[in-house]
Symmetry: C2
Subunit: 383 residues, 2 copies
Amino acid sequence: MSVTAPLGFRAAGVAAGIKAGGSRDLALVVNDGPSRAAAGVFTANRVKAAPVLWSQQVLSGGRLRAVVLNSGGANACTGPEGFQDTHTTAEKVAEALEDSAGEIAVCSTGLIGERLPMDALLSGVETAAGQLSRDGGLAAADAIRTTDTVSKISFKRAAGYMVGGMAKGAGMLAPALATMLCVITTDADLTSDELDTVLRRATSTTFDRLDTDGCMSTNDTVLLLASGASGVRPDLAEFEQKVTEVCADLARQLLVDAEGATKAIAIEVVGAASEDDAVKVGRVVARSNLLKCAIHGEDPNWGRVLAAVGTTDAVFEPDRLNVAINGIWICRGGAVGDDRSKVDMRPRDVTITIDLSAGPHTATVHTTDLTADYVHENSAYSS
Amino acid sequence: MSVTAPLGFRAAGVAAGIKAGGSRDLALVVNDGPSRAAAGVFTANRVKAAPVLWSQQVLSGGRLRAVVLNSGGANACTGPEGFQDTHTTAEKVAEALEDSAGEIAVCSTGLIGERLPMDALLSGVETAAGQLSRDGGLAAADAIRTTDTVSKISFKRAAGYMVGGMAKGAGMLAPALATMLCVITTDADLTSDELDTVLRRATSTTFDRLDTDGCMSTNDTVLLLASGASGVRPDLAEFEQKVTEVCADLARQLLVDAEGATKAIAIEVVGAASEDDAVKVGRVVARSNLLKCAIHGEDPNWGRVLAAVGTTDAVFEPDRLNVAINGIWICRGGAVGDDRSKVDMRPRDVTITIDLSAGPHTATVHTTDLTADYVHENSAYSS
């Protein structure tokens, strides 16, 4: 159902010839209203791709008529010409919809440092505009895939309205977002300020706590568009919960599709003096290549967990740290705990629980194992 | 020549039976004076192994008679019992040398979270004490190897005195040191304060700028011992230069022996507003798994360099960043520069130059590529 599950949205996904292989590579999502309220969150990377700079500017108005997304090229580090390409793309969409380019967001994903093939892209925009439909959500989700092995979509029903979404991303998932593009739609009626607040809160505990390889993209974008077509003014808490559920569902799909991964690892930090401490510890552990290799080898190597925790400035005493892997407390008081042979490392899902014994706060960060396949996927070709 | 190159030092390396395979696993380095001045730098990890806690305490006195080192077990995260094991080891060395345990440093390396086989270790100390000799430096360097494929030794001659050293380390090399143990000796005559100043400065630009996998060990230790046996009071600037050369030589040996690496990558940051900025940028780039995979695949992927630089708060403007790989400026002004096909990626040594265009400061951080062999070495067995 994807982004066209809620009323008021049409979408299309076409093969514009941007990707070499001839698969779908251009998606268009259009909000037919009556409302055009929208919000967005973007990569925290200071090196931002042209479409990010453009869409941030567009979103300052709080309204979006449409989003055009392409795979096959990130249009990052392409200078003023790259920014002009983004602008031209938005103008082309505006022309097709007889609307203003100032309310068209642009998202791109693919290789950094190369100009987009604009002839193919612009003619793809025309084709996509001609194919817009109420059931185009799946084709749109398919068109934004890069190394994704599957399309990622989600939707949730609420009292009189719906929330739908699509995402792409299979690597470079990191805090403050990841190489991921995500469009979330709803037919509920909200202001852009309300959408902004909800989106920031929802992403901060979902996409922002996904860290598969510690790298941060130049292109990450999450957009939330509200058509108001259901006529329902939602309860804000319920709406936030639904958006968070869609984000969490998509984040989980990104995680299990991470490049080369064989394990989905949840790093659950408990007993922290603050939520910040818990997130900080979770992230550092999620980025330990040594630990990620150990989990790949099904080795419950708690020493590598402690070595990572010890590099943070979180509040804890080394001799009060406890670590469980898949429920077995193999490290107690900073030293050997229960018998490590009791840990069942075979399941795909691995939970590492770290008790800092320093307070009541908790956070969970999600990552994957580090595998020879990850190395292969990221060394065998440019991406 | 190793640690016994300078006058006043004897050493030994024996197979004590700590490692399963029967190879050398215990080293002893003894300073016969007349001076016992010494200094040490230790891991910045807050989770410190028992021998680190012990040796830090010993070094507070500024004197060392001997250093005992074992491979086959890190004695980290072993609780009060582990600390007692370290203490017992120092006492055993003191007994063999008819000296005080308060001037015996202890270093351990190997798996975290397991007690050492003390019977084997203590009898190994006796054997080693009986084999101490002026040419024992090579055997000592051999005995501290873990996954090292070769022994690492170095020595430099100066005006009337020498500086010698040995080190172990082949992974987990990270800022604020790494899983590395290093003992440096000299027959020059210096105070412990002088040694401390020189050692901190020498390690800050050598071992501290080596970052092969971003992980930081619980056991890192670098010790500097001066016997004064040459009777020479050295020029301090010359002495610092010699110690720095030995550290740089050993650091280079650690780098090229890093687990699974096929490339030695120098990240040379120029045009930085401060040296701190230069080091910060160098480190972040050195830790980008995506970039390290690209270099492994001989892909001069400057986009991944920019994506990493963009995650720092160093002073720079994205559109003034320049990047050269092996001398070809393939990124100029934050966008495509010279033809990337001109970059020769075949040599083992790869230099990535990042010009922040923000000031006169520079720093170089060294790392390696990320390979399937690294994953294999760190997932196939506990270490």
